[in-house]
Amino acid sequence: MHSSLTRIAAALVATTMLAGVANAETLRWARASDSLTLDPHSQNQGVTHTLGHHIYETLLDRDVDGNLQPRLATEWYLKEGDPTVWVFKLREGVTFHNGNPFTADDVVFSIERAKSEHSNMRQLHAEVESVSAVDDYTVEFQMVGPAPIYPNNVTNTFIMDREWSEEHDLQEVQDFAAGESNYAVLNANGTGPYVLTSREVDVQTVLTAYEDHWAEEAPQVTEIIYLPIADAATRVAALLSGDVDLVQDVPVQDIERLSSTDGIKVESGPENRVIYFGYRFGEEPLKSSNITDSNPFNNPLVREAMELALDRDAIRQVVMRGNSIPTGIATPPFVNGWTEELDAYPPANVERARELMAEAGYPDGFTVTLDTPNNRYVNDEAISTAFVGMLGQIGIQVTLASRPIAEHSPLILANETDFYLLGWGVPTFDSAYVFNDLVHSKTETHGTYNVGLYSNPELDEKIISLGTETDLDVRNQTIAEIWEVVKADRVLLPVHNQVLNYAMRENINLAVHPEDQPRMTTVTFSE
């Protein structure tokens, strides 16, 4: 009798375990680097935000096509009669992981925290003068002036719980110059679809599905194990050996091998990041050139010759192994202001380029140094090396100076380079972001990455107007005009938009996210 009772009990236990197991899907997700911190406002960095979007939520979200979607806010509009105030209506019935209800007060706290001195998110909210809660589910943003596209800036600013933050002394964002770290670096309390279960920096972070999340459908992935694996070959080996299920940062040279492996597939999609070359403008001779009486890059014929020497398709085929989308404009296709005409680029034409060089007064060419990063963008050094060869054909003898991004960036920010490679992403999905930093003359607040010191006062005026023009048609028209000039003047020399590749086990379905911030809530499993 004892044994049959035991057997029945064992069978019952087994079936309940089976029932539990059948619904539980764990996803082991590998990336090249770990999230830097769990404090939502201290870093404005892609990898950190990617993990953050699972634990915390923002007022608005962006889908894979680049469109704004409601998230913690269900409606957003300019206030009647006052175009300097944005009104956000909040979702009801949302709770934080610790049970506290989500209300407008939490939004006020979070935005003020994001604007605070040590937050790296504050630039995105610079136009916000003050934010206030009208009632429990309505927030008003008083802008400094008319700000027609401000909602684009809230897509990576996470909402924290005021009570929890005050309980753990988190009103201030982590200060780098401080001696200690704050509670939020390793702990989190958000409204997002996953709860933080454990965090070991550079080892693994475990998230489990939040049962009281407001979304109608529960995600198919119930547990996420986030695994940073720094070495590219080890990351690929981990997928091949079955130790991980999804690899987000796939090295370009392994894509073919992975797609042809049984049980593994590779998904591709365009990334919101354009790779381009830039050069110095102005009459001053270049420091790194043998021409000492003029600046060759200042001559539009030389810039045209360089564009005709740049064989983007060859780079795509040989350097990127097909993983790039050549473009003729310094912005990715998702961005407001991009058009197909602007995207078009001339095919490579070396003879015409040589003619132009002679016409410009440099029949024997000139020398110059190209500064390139070697560990930041996909095959960045290889792209630069290829272009060096192409420029050699039209007489420009280029010396390639290759550095890690930590040493390349200071040159960029101090305008100490004559000729450089850089990449640019547009998190607001609007051209004004590109103009403000890349095209506008360099000032305390604009043109931070206008390395060549290109200066066009007429364009500057138009760019500033984009921040306050509320008539969207007029605004888009101005954007088109600015791009015309930028393209005609060849302010920058764009090469291509990067392509992202994710490798995963065959039964997993996940689309590439343009900002490289995939949401595991969208993962589905097929048989």
Partner: protein, 326 residues
Amino acid sequence: MLAFILRRLGQSVLVMLVVAFIAFMVFRYVGDPVVSMVGQDATIGDIEELRGRLGLNDPFYVQFARFVGNALQGQFGISYRLQQPVSQLILERLPATIELAFASSFIALVFGVMLGIYTALKPRAFSTAVVMTISLVGVSLPTFLIGIGLIYLFAVELQVLPSFGRGEVVNLGWWRTGLLTESGWRSLILPAITLSLFQLTLIMRLVRAEMLEVMRTDYIRFARARGLSQRAINFGHALRNTLVPVITIAGLQLGSVIAFAIITETVFQWPGVGSLFVNSVQVVDVPVMAAYLVFVALVFVVINLIVDILYFIVDPRLRDGARTGR
């Protein structure tokens, strides 16, 4: 003996100060940490302000003095990258590196000594030639290649061992150990072998050379003449005399293994201080780099001290010499 130790301690402090000084000088050329800390949107004004607040615009000697002053109080600041106190970060990751280092040194010592004795006692055997040739491979192949090769063989093809990580760990107070779980042991095998190959070859050849030399000495010949068994001669007398240089080398190797298991840790995603250092260099996380280099200097200094003390114990000549003051 006490005077000896005190003198060595004084020298050690000097060594560490010099290392810190040189490290600081080098950091000025490794890149700009501030750029990695602020977002793409940061204005020039923001960047300058942060640089000033971190004291990065101060002259070199001021920054160095501040660092040494804080270090003497045990304060190494917080990591720019991870925003946690540096000393806490290093202490958290030390157990992983030490376990790996000791595991690989153990393998290297045991097999190195065994193979060294074997190849010394049978110098003309074919198996000896095979062992010597294969050991050359261990020295000439770079660590990352060996590591990736082992991962592909054992994790991808044969699927018997994990491809990365440390497995499950157990907290024994402050010390996080992987030696108490099965997955911990399985994860330790490949990285330990990878890290041990270089040392193994070195120790093997050293033991072999020393044994061959010792076997030719007078006292061994007299022992044989006296009629002691071969085994007593080989292990009781010859081996002990070869140990002094082996201890030196093994000690130095242990120091460099703890300090520079960087490549192996990166390849196997082993969460030790080596991989912490690599990640820090990539973003110019100066507080971590500075603290790490001081730590490395400390490791070498301590190990050298222990090795010197071991000499005293192992070699009776040194002991007698000290006592009679000769």
